[in-house]
Symmetry: C2
Subunit: 200 residues, 2 copies
């Protein structure tokens, strides 16, 4: 925004632009939109930002984001705590929960290994995962990181730590997305789908 714009508007646009996926043009539109909102709505928005940051923390068990000491999933006696699904981030937990099929529990690493970016194992919540395994009740750990270089590296690294502890470690299946079109699948996915074919 050029300097003829009111400074608080320029600052607000910059804040929006600092969010992922929002360019300067969209940020400007959002800042103008805020000007047209009711004062109470703007105050609620500001409060929601502060509340989310101050009231939400990591579950002491699975490290997912929650308002409580232990999150609703970890404290649910219906969930099978002997199966842990290891994911990169809290949004992955949301994605699995939307399937309504997984009855185990989660562990959120809060990142993936990426030595180039300085993300080494001690920056992830790996220690917390190992301490959950320590009590001998966990039977299987499902590595549900993304099928990317970093996701695969992280899955391999964690599997390497868990297997000597006698834990079954599995990885999400790779294949064609359901409802996807074969013609548009990339070569690696198609190869994986062929390799992992199932009897019918």
């Amino acid at each position: 925004m050029a300097d003829h714009n009111a400074l608080p508007l320029v600052i607000l646009a910059e804040k929006f632009a600092s969010l992922p996926g929002i360019g300067m043009k969209s940020a400007q539109r959002l800042a103008y939109h805020v000007m047209s909102m009711e004062p109470e709505a703007v105050e609620d928005f500001a409060k929601a930002l502060i509340d989310a940051k101050t009231q939400v923390r990591c579950c002491s068990v699975c490290q997912n984001l929650t308002e409580k000491e232990v999150c609703p999933i970890c404290s649910d006696p219906e969930r099978d705590s002997s199966t842990i699904c290891v994911v990169e981030s809290p949004k992955d937990v949301s994605a699995f929960e939307r399937t309504h099929e997984f009855k185990g529990v989660y562990h959120v690493l809060h990142g993936l290994l990426s030595p180039m970016d300085g993300i080494t194992p001690d920056r992830l919540r790996v220690r917390e995962l190992l301490s959950r395994i320590g009590d001998g009740k966990v039977k299987e750990v499902i590595m549900a990181t993304n099928p990317t270089v970093e996701g695969d590296a992280t899955a391999l690294y964690v599997a390497g730590l868990l297997k000597p502890m006698g834990i079954k470690v599995s990885r999400l299946a790779f294949g064609l997305p359901v409802g996807g079109i074969l013609e548009y699948a990339d070569e690696v996915t198609l190869y994986k789908a062929l390799e992992n074919r199932n009897d019918m």
Copy 2:
């Protein structure tokens, strides 16, 4: 966001989703991003929202958004106050200022006529425009509303009020793509449209 998510996060995602052009999925990502921000950065963001809403108001002359009683453009003695460019919204002022070609001043209507949506002339800043014309120093009014049905209707309506007052009223040239949105026009197109303005 499903109910396994922490409530403050759900609320924050809803606030983001209420902004124009942000869907629920993006809103969720933004809410998660806020969790990864430094507490001070989140506080700054919340403060920027409040500041923009409380400190920015309409210029008493041109109705553009500003922190001052009279905006920098209206109070700049270098600007030619005998030529008023009438626009729909503050973002259109930004668009014209980016051309660095227009030396006159602006008038922001804060909307376009749209009787179907209940936007009648009294909802726009037309009265403020007429009172600016009253002192006899204004020679030309350029109607720079979008080349859409509402934009044309508004331009015609305002022209109809101004012409009996002996004011020259012009309209931006149709260098703009018809049905397009002024804000997204590139600088050269916008400059050409300004240069080729026609009497109406």
